[in-house]
Symmetry: C3
Subunit: 257 residues, 3 copies
């Protein structure tokens, strides 16, 4: 039973949940440290991203143990988008899917944040990953702010719809680890509300996963969309904080939900 | 024996100490990770705050183990102020005290940072918590900067005195986790020295616990008040750093104490 | 074998390596937490600095265990420069070397970032530490930005050469934990490229260890000098990130090396 359970209010859906999803960014935690964290707060994590190409520099043995550990907490671990992009660039998609299977991953991210990838080709990759049995999360947005601004919001929404139709279970809105001067956030990390509104009004919100690495961004989305908004790129040390924000148990959202 | 003990200078009092207290903010560490940290640096921690309402989303079993673990290092763990505020708002004070007892807490924080609470009522709550056998730390200040500025320093000092007289062992000066644009810190996190002087000149300094989450703030208080100033909202990763600052073992305070 | 090893490109040299060295800053990790981290990423760490005077406030038992643990991962742990400075100030150099030996350290840092130390005297200390059997890393630069700016780049290069000749294996360019308004970084943490060029053109680059605590700084040096630049003051949580940057496995350097 939860501590002080008489103050729990159920604003945030419990697992298994279809909305209010939390995606956490693992940038290289030790296995034991990660498990210690999951013991206390794993129930608040839905997706766990092995950030960008980090898995490539870690041993198979430890990655497969981390994957299995996260899965034992009913979390869907998946490979970062940059890993897919590297495999694609190097004509190693087949090996990529095979190795992801071997390591125990049941989901992968498909993105084109750092490479140039014809969108039809990206859609094919999404379909291919689905046919390989993976849940596919796909990301819209460029890591380079200049390139990212070449796309209008209308164009982004078209890309999102096409990716959803190709089989993506969630469309991730890029904000990187830092959350500044990227996608829907300006130089100071402030959310561009008009662009966000446009996206929200034209796309199934339950399929969007907003990257929101900083607390102010998390508060913004929770106050705007409610406790059951899907948020991602949450740092491992902020898992509990986010859960309290979603339930109005921290000053920033207390009494406002 | 300490490493390089011949360089230890005893500037910072040892436990059990009445001043130079350090309050650390736990925002959801795993039990094993927290214990690993206490093994190396637990002797430098006096109070350990389970931040805001975090305990509410964690299991009783793990919270009571964390409480007992911290106590085994002669640390006083206590419930964050927002937890009290939630209990008060929901008319659950009795259940709150009971559950705090059950989990092993011997101290609680009483605050009104996020709710409107008549000050006489707050004093009653402090008295009630004392009569329930808890050490009470109370906090002065609002989490909303606009609301916080409605109080003059004179008014704050009056509140502090009343809370001390009602039984608070320490009065906490609010600065949140971030330490910017809140209470005694300006937008950039710089300390407002005139306001701090006014408080220090009009209140028993050994009863004040200054929240000072950022290193520059810690350095400011140590250089101003000496190694045995009471500081709080120290992040778990800065426990050792603060102890070296207090003893002049880091560049910022070396040779200046 | 590495996960997705078919994407590994060998841009970054493997251990034992002579360039591409990574120095990590430990500011007080618990033993178990540090070991969990080394299990997954220890092969990417060459030097491990026990930051400034932190060891002084920790027990001999835990420091010697941490030293041995790091060494078991082929990492060279060493004492922070401020520790040497404190020993020097207190006329305790002999005890300092003896205790460093007892704790298992095989390397020490010699610096004068916080104290005034005649340069001939500093060179003598470097020679003395070498004759005591230690690998010596020495640091050039003052922690106080005002004092640091009293030295021209030409003067710094002269100091560096003299320290190398006195026996330093690496010359560390000071940037502290924060990396802003210090040495080669301006107030915003941006690298001063002209000063860096001047140093690089006049000193053996394989002997320089650039402190670069922030990701943008790491990216700057890797894009400028290649994957095998020596970088230091890497935080423990960024070890894996840095390794992916060095190998073009993160967006910032992907396709640019």
């Amino acid at each position: 039973m939860k501590s002080f359970n008489f103050l729990l209010n159920g604003k945030h859906e419990e697992k298994p949940r279809n909305s209010g999803l939390t995606m956490v960014l693992d940038k290289g935690l030790g296995l034991e440290t990660a498990e210690s964290l999951m013991k206390i707060s794993g129930e608040y994590v839905d997706y766990l991203k092995f950030g960008w190409g980090t898995s490539i520099v870690h041993e198979q043995d430890i990655i497969s143990k981390k994957v299995a550990m996260y899965q034992s907490y009913d979390i869907q671990p998946y490979t970062g988008g940059t890993l897919f992009e590297l495999a694609y660039m190097n004509n190693k998609l087949e090996e990529f899917f095979q190795e992801a299977h071997n390591l125990g991953f049941k989901a992968v991210e498909v993105s084109d944040g750092s490479i140039t990838l014809d969108h039809d080709k990206k859609l094919e990759c999404i379909e291919l990953a689905c046919s390989e049995g993976f849940e596919v999360l796909s990301e819209v947005g460029k890591k380079d702010p200049v390139k990212d601004k070449e796309f209008s919001i209308e164009e982004k929404i078209d890309l999102m719809n096409a990716e959803k139709n190709a089989g993506s279970s969630k469309i991730i809105m890029e904000a990187r680890e830092g959350g500044k001067n990227i996608g829907i956030f300006d130089e100071s990390g402030k959310a561009k509300e008009d662009e966000i509104d446009q996206i929200m009004n034209n796309f199934d919100n339950t399929k969007i996963l907003w990257e929101a690495p900083n607390k102010d961004q998390q508060v913004f989305f929770i106050l705007k969309c409610g406790p059951n908004v899907n948020l991602g790129n949450i740092s491992t040390e902020d898992i509990t904080s986010l859960e309290t924000l979603r339930n109005g148990l921290r000053g920033d959202t207390l009494g406002k939900l």
